[in-house]
Amino acid sequence: MARKLMKGNEAIAAAAINAGCRYFFGYPITPQNEIPEYMSRELPKVGGAYVQAESEVAAINMVYGAAGAGARVLTSSSSPGISLMQEGISYIAGAELPCVLVNIMRAGPGLGGVQPAQADYFQATKGGGHGDYRVLVLAPANLQEAVDLTQLAFDLADKYRNPVMVLADGMIGQLMEPVEFSPYRPAAGLPPKDWATTGTVHSGGRQRVINSLYLYPDQLENHVRAIFRKYAEMERTEVRYELYNCDQADVVIVAYGTTSRIARSAIEKCRRLGLRVGLLRPITLYPFPLAAFDLVVERTKAFLVVEMSMGQMLDDVKIAVAGRRPISFYGRTGGIVPTSEEIVKQVQELLGGRGA
């Protein structure tokens, strides 16, 4: 199929529909409004439904209902709205429902600003709401990847009966790049949704209940342990990352999404300066690619973590490197996107000013 020039937000929305999503519940917030706008325009054409909820709190609970009814369902928001959804996400994880969430991050805390940021990493990867659970988090760095990962997100959600988040930022949401849509087929072997509430006439009279309430601690512990067996399986089979230029690298930059692109430009500039720099780019933020660090740690002298935050993924990198090499951090926050020149300067300082 032909390449099409699309905005990131629209590409994500189109990918969702391509993956069979027919229901969207959301509330407007900058910088992700093209997603609900696209869905409100396109879903009715394919027999789906778009509902503009009264709040993100309501939107995520509509997602709960629709997911519990067996549908492929999407919601999207940006940081403050995702905070409001955390209660519902916890319930969805607890009730083991599949759904896809998109967070087009903006700068916080509080009302913050509307420019790009990556400061929701902790919230996205460590649970976010109350209780023991995780959300599988996919972080695209370009729009083709945003399309591919959004489609994959629906399969992974169905496979694990767990929320999957596509975590991007305002820059990826607003950016235009060519994207290509291939005919989509769901992954083979997805489990049937024989738990969905569709009325007992459809289940041979067997009552189906969607629920996250377990008042007896032993039952709840068993339930949580069962959920965590799924997370262990995710950690074994769903880790995704990219290594770029790491074979001879003295410094390995660790960055995801937008900052990984800027790191790439910085690596090219470093190459011209005679500096050997590589990139380790996590694509799944949960599960985090811990083992990928083992592949590069012997050859590299140091790691440089670059984020649009004050240092959140940094903690996971520390766990992965486990003291074997020094780790530096460079972060911009408040909606400022670091430049490749700034990153080059960090690398130069790390390597003792060589190549300046």
Binding site: F25, A49, A59, Y64, G65, A67, T197, G199, V209
Partner: protein, 248 residues
């Protein structure tokens, strides 16, 4: 032997956890009978609240989803949009619907969402132990208004039917009571009408049922019924507040 009465097959065969004298059980029975009589039980999905009726999914003999506190109308919206042929109802108490879930109920009504809401108002928080509700009467003592609800600072009862009836897209709004047999029969008629509205795709319907809480009111079951008549009816007049078909 001739069977003159039996438990509705709209209810499961498990003992309910409700306190003696609480009218939740009666209201469950009326809803279950209605679903059976309208022949929709098999395609009904119930949405249970947080509150005393949190285990409603164990009692209604149909598919169900348990919602977060106050979010039942949003959950019901999600279910109904996916399967418009399902009959979807929420069963919510006064804390759930009239306090933490006011945005969800008002906006489900505003959208004219084609669902049915059973709103059980007993003027107190039962599950958590008798705290003040938005529907607590002025002067009524609760564990968080020990001197009685004061109009100054704690306000006065939120009248849900009156409020929702002002919303254009609603189809049927009624307040009923189950404190005596004639009222109970009226409540059944209202519930039937509300579900009929949904079956006919007429839009949002809500039946508020005045209920008792002998445990937290500190009254016997019989005195509780009398308390509904004497104290709740004046504050919460019964009647049909909205009916797009013009009935009363």
């Amino acid at each position: 032997m001739k069977i003159v009465y039996e438990k509705s097959r709209g209810l499961t065969d498990v003992p309910m956890h409700y306190c003696p004298g609480c009218t939740h059980g009666i209201i469950h029975k009326l809803v279950a009978e209605t679903l059976v009589e309208l022949d929709v039980l098999g395609r009904t999905v119930a949405v249970a609240p947080v509150g005393c009726a949190v285990f409603a999914y164990e009692y209604f003999n149909c598919d169900a989803q348990e919602a977060a506190h106050g979010r039942a109308p949003a959950v019901a919206t999600g279910i109904k949009r996916v399967h418009p042929d399902n009959i979807v109802f929420t069963y919510q108490g006064d804390g759930d619907l009239a306090s933490i879930g006011t945005a969800e109920i008002v906006h489900a009504a505003m959208r004219g969402e084609n669902i049915t809401v059973v709103f059980v108002n007993n003027a107190i928080y039962g599950m958590t132990g008798g705290q003040m509700a938005p529907t607590t009467l002025v002067g009524q003592p609760t564990t968080t208004s020990p001197l009685g609800r004061s109009r100054l600072g704690q306000g006065a009862p939120l009248r849900v039917c009156e409020m929702l009836a002002t919303i254009e897209a609603t189809a049927y709004i009624a307040r009923v009571s189950v404190h005596n047999i004639p009222r109970l029969n009226g409540a059944k008629r209202a519930l039937k009408k509300a579900f009929q509205m949904q079956i006919e795709n007429k839009g949002f319907s809500l039946v508020e049922v005045l209920s008792t809480c002998p445990t937290n009111w500190g009254l016997s079951p019989v005195d509780s019924l009398r308390w509904v008549e004497q104290n709740m009816l004046p504050a919460y007049p019964l009647g049909v507040y909205k009916d797009i078909e013009g009935g009363t």
